[in-house]
Symmetry: C2
Subunit: 257 residues, 2 copies
């Protein structure tokens, strides 16, 4: 049985303010929680049905609460709760620029949609990108909707939050990184030479890359469109931010083959 206080406590972690205060986040379901249990993420509590506990090994250091499906509904952030909810410690990673030298790194400039951010984290995992550096305006990666959309990749990608223009300004004094930005006037990613390391800036869903970051872009790239139509609303046609990320990452990685 869950106490009123427990229900209140778990539900409070759906809000960024309380996640930050407690340095905790929520993850749910039989796909994601087992991934977290074997990852470097420090899982603190598991609320689950007897079925889940029967089928999964849980370290003795983790607090466990066996609950019924209807109790799970009272704490879940999902439309269809799925056996288990875990309360986990939010990881913090040192952002050491020199450690990024031989790596491909994503810089997210104000990604607002939780589903997009979660999908981008999952894409990064697939394409072997270890670090994502988010602008402070980017949605919280430990928002339950983001965590769900990562399908477990949240445990494998180092996510950092910082001021991206400060970050890019400071990096100019050390190693020279190539900074890629998708812009309408860029060079086709299909024909451009793409290295196996560097920074890729992904812009906001509607505004694209911020003006203040443009001076740091060393290489303008573009995903060619094969559409038979032109948009009529004055805005250019565009791809969803997560889709653009996947096409760009795929092109970078193809060259390694």
């Amino acid at each position: 049985m869950l106490s009123k206080n427990q229900i209140k406590y778990v539900n409070s972690l759906k809000q960024k303010k309380f996640r930050e205060e407690h340095n905790l986040f929520l993850a749910e379901g039989t796909k994601i929680v087992p991934e977290l249990l074997v990852s470097d993420i420090n899982v603190k509590q598991v609320y689950a049905t007897s079925d889940f506990f029967r089928n999964n090994k849980i370290a003795a250091t983790i607090e466990r609460f066996e609950i019924k499906e209807n109790e799970l509904e009272r704490v879940s952030a999902l439309m269809a709760p799925n056996e288990v909810l875990a309360v986990c410690e939010t990881p913090h990673y040192q952002l050491e620029i020199d450690s990024l030298k031989d790596k491909l790194t994503l810089l997210l400039d104000e990604i607002k949609d939780p589903g997009n951010l979660g999908t981008i984290i999952r894409v990064a995992d697939w394409f072997g990108i270890e670090n994502i550096i988010c602008s402070n305006e980017t949605v919280d990666a430990f928002n339950p909707k983001v965590v769900q959309a990562t399908m477990g990749s949240i445990s494998r990608i180092k996510i950092h939050y910082t001021d991206l223009s400060d970050f890019l300004m400071n990096q100019e004094s050390t190693i020279k990184y190539q900074v890629f930005g998708a812009l309408l006037a860029g060079e086709s990613i299909y024909s451009k030479q793409l290295p196996s390391s560097g920074f890729i800036i992904i812009g906001n869903e509607s505004k694209g890359i911020s003006e203040k970051l443009l001076p740091y872009i060393t290489d303008k790239i573009r995903i060619p469109s094969f559409s038979h139509y032109k948009a009529v609303t004055g805005e250019a046609e565009s791809l969803n931010a997560a889709i653009a990320t996947s096409v760009i990452c795929s092109e970078f990685r193809r060259r390694k083959n």
Copy 2:
């Protein structure tokens, strides 16, 4: 002022049953509705604020209702209604297999998530794919969530619903199409020869491509993963269906460059 009956009528179109009965669908917002107004889609009614009518030309044949923001909220399917809602006639296209001969066509095998379907339609538009053939189990493309996620591409892509195994069985007797399916044991899309025409099957979000469609696949393809990790839950890591579609379509189109 909207009457109670009008509110009820517009809201009824959020349900598939009533969309089919009336052969109508809803589209909303200042990005999508202007695209529909200049497309081949037959827009029947526009409910909008005075601002919208001031800024957009509406053909005389379209019924127009000037309403306030708070009235729009009563018929909108969006969290944040945006000036305009349009009631449109659902288009129906003849599915003539011979007309697909020199084209790249997507076959969607039970895509269930409206956001995924909408994004796939938008991706198809970007990559110049004219037809999408959906299995009867695929979510309705004229569901308001799908329409919104297409960002207007719904007006430019011919969407068909049929039984995919019947469709693929019948096509065997005429022109020989290559049928591509993303499978774990496929050939890397980066190194495989890819033509500028054929069918690409995209499988269900969790189950992948149906068993009954496997015999029709002539070319097994695979998006290589560069991940440093292996999944622990028994399931293979995967990409979201819309992400996989975008990476595959990008690879097919790259070869045309």
